[in-house]
């Protein structure tokens, strides 16, 4: 008898469509769909994909709790022994959906779940403690590597075999501590590590310190009537034609553009460079992402003193965290040099 597996994928991998279909409602189909074929092969005779649950990324991300319940109820009907989610690579909404589903299934059905993501996928930070997430490359080009590793992990869990360390199994660290006996005392191991460090030799810590990159909130604006407010976006709004060629995904740059004299952004003068959501609405009226029209209105009413005459923009779509950090720091320097008091940053 082989184990019954349900596979969860998004509308893109199901072949339904791209961003224009990202609001696709949850559905479930018998058997394999899309990458399920390769996964089924990797599972061999021991497990079989009996059904594939599909949901649009935007539909899921818009109300994560509701979508998770809807998909869970569909999956439950197939009495699975385990569920595989994705892989989602570096797709943020897809990763969050895989994570939320994995969390819901593990809690409600108590069966093994395995997903696959790139370490910078926001779904990793949100859900890595709830499930095994196999580390994958950042795009679907890594499918060939991701699928066998996910299948191997899933079979181990199904058979109740002992799982190894993250570095041995290829999953992302879950923050679980296990007891282990060593030949050497802790003090000796500690000194060994210290000596290695002094010699510049590699050593592996037994307890990596968590990195909490949190920033303290700044003091609020106390005199809004005299404040200059700037608008920044990761939603890709730019002058029509995208003059600086900001990339539709994995942006390598940000843009700085004047809004001097603009009371309103329209399809005649601005558009979005973003490739990670359906651009129809932002192209029709860019104020839906960068609210220049109402900011200008409020400036005239004296709610605040001045709308900063430049806006800053990039595309937050698979963009490396290191790049976003760099853009943010550079933008902040410029805003400060220009005497800006506060910032509204919009994200799609």
């Amino acid at each position: 008898m082989s184990y019954r597996v349900v596979h969860y994928i998004n509308q893109f991998f199901a072949g339904i469509g791209g961003e224009e279909k990202a609001d696709h409602k949850p559905e479930i189909r018998e058997g394999v769909v899309g990458p399920g074929m390769a996964l089924n092969n990797a599972l061999g005779d021991e497990a079989e994909i009996v059904a594939t649950a599909i949901c649009g990324d935007t539909y899921f991300a818009t109300d994560i709790e509701k979508a998770a319940v809807e998909v869970l109820e569909m999956i439950r009907k197939y009495n699975p022994d385990a569920v595989v989610l994705g892989p989602a690579f570096n797709a943020g909404r897809y990763g969050s959906a895989c994570g939320a589903m994995g969390d819901a299934i593990a809690t409600e059905l108590g069966i093994p779940v395995v997903s696959g993501m790139y370490p910078e996928n926001p779904g990793v930070e949100m859900y890595r403690k709830s499930m095994y997430i196999i580390e994958t490359p950042d795009s679907a080009r890594g499918m060939g590597k991701a699928v066998p590793a996910m299948a191997k992990m899933l079979l181990k869990l199904l058979k109740g075999e002992k799982t190894g360390l993250p570095s041995e199994e290829g999953y992302i660290e879950r923050g679980i501590r296990i007891n282990k006996f060593y030949e050497k005392l802790a003090a000796e191991r500690c000194v060994d590590m210290f000596v290695s460090k002094l010699k510049g030799e590699p050593f592996v810590t037994e307890y990596p310190m968590p990195v909490f990159d949190r920033v303290e909130p700044n003091l609020p604006v106390t005199d809004m009537k005299n404040a200059t407010v700037a608008i920044v976006t990761s939603g890709g709004i730019c002058p029509k034609g995208n003059p600086d060629h900001i990339e539709a995904s994995s942006a390598s740059k940000y843009g700085e553009y004047s809004i001097e004299g603009y009371d309103d952004l329209t399809s005649a003068d601005h558009c979005t460079a973003h490739g990670g959501y359906d651009a129809t609405y932002a192209d029709d009226d860019p104020d839906r992402v960068l609210p220049v029209d109402v900011m200008r209105e409020m400036e005239k009413e004296g709610v605040f003193k001045k709308l900063h005459n430049k806006f800053y923009t990039t595309v937050g779509n698979g963009t490396a965290v290191a790049s976003a950090k760099k853009f943010g720091a550079a933008i902040a320097d410029k805003l400060k040099a220009d005497g800006v008091d506060a910032v509204i940053l919009t994200s799609t």
Binding site: A61, P217, Y281, R288, V294, E297
Partner: protein, 77 residues
């Protein structure tokens, strides 16, 4: 980007649709938006109504910028 702007000393509010991601990344002042492809608008509504929705969100964002916070705060209605 939000965090780097905050780190530089400027009060910043993140108006965004997927609040859990903003919380994970570490924004301190968060205003939930309408939808991913139109965070500050709603194309299903007549223009004037849509603009009123946008204005309401920007007002909330400005209010968040004027509110003292000591930890991550989501500004709901």
């Amino acid at each position: 980007m939000v965090k780097e702007i905050e780190r530089a000393g400027l009060p910043v509010v993140h108006v965004c649709t997927i609040v859990p991601i903003s919380l994970t990344v570490g924004a301190n002042r968060i205003v939930p938006a309408i939808a991913i492809p139109h965070p500050l608008g709603d194309p299903t509504k007549p223009f004037e109504e849509e603009k009123a929705i946008r204005r309401h969100l920007v007002e909330k964002a400005l209010k968040a910028l004027q509110t003292p916070v000591t930890e991550q705060t989501v500004f709901n209605d």
